[in-house]
C-alpha cells in the first residue's frame, strides 16, 4: 500500500488542519461565537436548525434581547477543527436573519455564565458550604432546612470549579445558562 502524498495533497491536508500521518488526531478547538440576529422565533429556529442540518456540534446557547429591540444576541459555543468552525461561521452568515457573526475566541472578551444550584446541607457542614460560597462570591437565593439554592456567576471555568466543590455535599438540581460573551472595548493605547 503506497501512502506517499503528492505536494498538493500535503498542502490540502495542512490547510484543512488534518493530520498527515495515520494515528494522529485532528486538532479540535472550542469556539465562542456571537450572533446578532433578527429578534424573532423564526430567526432563532433557523440558527438552531442549522446546527442539526449540517451536523455541527453545539455545546451551549444563550440568547436574549439587545439594546436594539428589533435584534437579539446569541452566544454559541461549538467545538471542531478550524475548517469545520469556518463552515459554521460561513453558514451562519448565509442565513438571511443574521446581521452579524463574530467569532470572539481569539479576541479580548469577557464572558459570564449564570448557575443556579440546589445543594443539600446539614447543620454540621453548613459553614463549610458558606465558606466556599464566599470564595466564589455566590449568593443564597432560597433556603429550606435541608437545601439551599445558590446563585453564582462568572466565567465558565469558575462555574465548573464551583460545581466541583459542591458535588461532595450532594447536588439536588443544577441549571446553567450557557455562556454569554462580549468583546472588550479597546482602551486607548492598547
Amino acid at each position: 500500500m503506497e501512502s506517499t502524498l503528492t505536494p498538493q495533497q500535503i498542502f490540502r491536508k495542512r490547510a484543512a488542519g488534518e493530520p498527515l500521518n495515520e494515528g494522529e488526531t485532528p486538532q479540535i478547538r472550542r469556539h465562542i461565537i456571537n450572533v446578532t440576529l433578527d429578534n424573532s422565533i423564526g430567526a432563532l429556529n433557523r440558527v438552531a436548525n442549522l446546527f442539526c442540518q449540517r451536523g455541527f456540534n453545539l455545546e451551549s446557547v444563550a440568547v436574549g434581547k439587545t439594546d436594539d429591540t428589533s435584534l437579539s444576541r446569541m452566544t454559541l459555543v461549538t467545538a471542531g477543527t478550524t475548517r469545520k468552525v469556518e463552515q459554521v461561521l460561513l453558514q451562519l452568515e448565509n442565513l438571511v436573519d443574521t446581521v452579524e457573526v463574530d467569532d470572539v475566541t481569539d479576541l479580548e472578551f469577557v464572558e459570564r455564565e449564570l448557575c443556579l444550584l440546589k445543594v443539600r446541607y446539614t447543620s454540621k457542614n453548613r459553614s463549610e458550604v458558606m465558606d466556599i460560597l464566599d470564595i466564589f462570591k455566590g449568593r443564597v437565593v432560597d433556603i429550606t432546612p435541608e437545601t439551599m439554592t445558590i446563585e453564582v456567576t462568572g466565567p465558565t471555568k469558575k462555574i465548573n470549579a464551583f460545581v466541583g466543590m459542591m458535588e461532595p455535599f450532594g447536588i439536588d438540581e443544577l441549571h446553567r445558562s450557557g455562556r454569554v460573551a462580549m468583546r472588550r472595548a479597546l482602551v486607548h493605547g492598547s
Binding site: 503528492t6 484543512a16 436548525n49 475548517r83 460561513l90 442565513l95 438571511v96 443574521t98
Partner: protein
Amino acid sequence: MSEYSLENLDTPSGDGLPASASSSIVSQETVSQETMTGAEIFVRALDAQGVKYVFGHPGGAVIKIYDEIARIQPRFKHILVRHEQGGTHMAEGYAKATGRVGTVLVTSGPGATNTVTGIADAYMDSVPIVVFTGQVPTHLIGNDAFQETDIIGVTRSITKHSFQVKRVQDLTRTIKEAYHIAKTGRPGPVVVDLPKDILFAEDTFRYPEGVALRGYSTQVNIVETQIALAARMISESKKPLLYVGGGTLNSDAAEELTAFARKTKIPVTTTLHGLSSFPENDPLSLGMLGMHGTWYANQAVQNCDLIIAVGARFDDRVTGKLDAWAPHARVVHIDIDPSCISKNIPVECPILGNVKDVLDMLGPLVEEKDTAEWLGQIDVWREECPLAYEKDDRLRAQGVIEKLREKTDGNAVVVSDVGQHQMWTAQYFKYVHPRSHITSGGLGTMGFCLPAAIGAAFGLRLEGRDDVPVISISGDGGFVMNAQEMSVAAAHRLPIKIIVINNRFLGMVRQWQELFHENRYSHTDLTDTNPDFVKLAEANHVVGLRASTPKELDEAIEKAWSINDGPVLIECQVEKEEMVFPMVPAGAATGDMITERFSHDHDV
C-alpha cells in the same frame, strides 16, 4: 448574456431580470389608496413584481386568491397543475430555461407538503423559485386545525429563506423580499406562508420599490489580489483544466467562459449542471467529468497541475474519493457562495464573486497559452477510451439520444429525468447552446423531467422562442411519477417531444445490482407492471407513438416533429440490460474507472 434576448418582455420589474434592469416604477399599479382584501393585494403584487406564470393548485386556504384571479384577471397567467410536486418542477424548469424566478401557489396542509420534493430539488440545484402556501387562519395555528401543516418548520432546512405573513400590512414587502432573496446571490427556493385571515383582511396597496434586509447583502467586492494570483497560477501551469459547474449558467457567463477557454487554450470539463455552458463541439471540450463522466475528462483531472473551478461545488458525484482526487492540481475556485469555497477541498486561490464578473476581470490578465502538449496527451486518452456503445440494428438509448441530436442539430432544450437515460442524455447529446440542458442533479428526483419540460416550454413561449423544441427524456420508471402533468402540456398545446426510454427496468438501480449485488434484480423489473405508454398518452390528450427499432424511431421522430400544436409522446422500447459506462463506483478514486462490463458476470 446568452444569445436569446429578453427585450421583447414588457415587464417593468420582472420575475427575475437582473437587479440593474429592474428600474423603479411608481404608477397606479404599484400604489393605490383604495382598500382591498389581502387576496387582491397578493394578486396585484405578483403583477407589480412582473410575474408571468403562476403554477398552482387551489384549495380551501387559498380559495380567496383564486376568486380574485377570476375577478380581476391579472396579467400573469395561472397554470393549473395536476399535482403540486409537478407545479414546483414546472417552476424550476421555467427558471432554468429563462433565468427568471418560478412561482408556485398551493393550498395549506397536503397542498403544501406536496411541494416539499420540488423545494428540496430547487435547494440542492440553486434554482430560484418562490412557493406561496396557504395556511389556516392565524388564530387556529398550532391547534391541529383541518389541513394545518407547519410548512415553515417542514421546509426549514431545504429553503434559502421562508416567511409567514402575520399582518396584511407586511404582505407586499414580504413578496418583494421573497423574489429578491430567491434570485440574488446563490439562488434558491423561498417559501411564503399565507394564513387565510390575512387574505381576507383589508389594506391599501403599495408595492415597494426596493428591499431593506439588513442581514442579507448581495454586494461582493472581488478581491483584485486574488485575481492576480489566479492569473499567475494559470501562467505557471503546464497542464491546466477548467472544471465548470452550474454557477456559470446561473450568472449567464457562458459566453465569457467560452472566450476565456479559447483564448487560453485551456480544456474544459463540465459537471452535469455545467453542461451547455461550453460548446461540446469545440475541440477543447472534454464533456462531463465524475462518476459517469468521460474517461478522458477524468484522466485530465487526475493528471492536471491546475484546476480552475468555475461555479462548481466539488460534489461527491464529481470527486469520488476526495483524498485521491486531482492529486497534482493547485486549485483556483470561483464561486458566489463563500460557504462553498474550501468546503470539500481546501483551495489555494479562492475568488468570491459572480462568475461573469470574475471572468471579466481575469480574462484580460491572462495570456494566450501554449497547451499543445497537454492537449495532445488528452487526445491520446480520447482515442484510448472514447464514449462508445454497441452499434447494431437494435434500438438502444444512446442511439435515441444521438438521433435526437442529429434531428435538432443541438437547437433544443433537453430535459432529462434521473437514471441511466439521464447519463446518456448528458454524454451523447453534445450541447452547444447555453441553458439547453436541464436536469435534477443534486437531489436526483425521479419525476422531475416532464413537469420541468412543461415549465421550460412556457418559458420559451414567453420569450418568443417557440420554434426551439423542448425534449423531455425520461425512463419508464420515473416518467409515471409525474405522468399526470401530460394533460397540462396538452391543455396549453405545448409542442413538447416527450421521449420515454422504456427498458422495462429501473435501469440505474439494475445496473448497480448487476455490478455490486450479484445480479439480484430485487424489485427493479417493470416488465409486467408498466402501463401502455401510448394509451397513457392518448388518455391525456397527447399523441402517442411507439418505436422498437432504429427505423421505427426515424419514422416516429419525423411524425413527432410534424406536429407543432401540441405534445407528442414517443415510447422507445430499447435494450433491457444496457450499462452506463464509464463509471467510477461510489466512493472509489477517480483514477479507478470501470469502462466495460465484468464479462464473467455477464456470460454466466
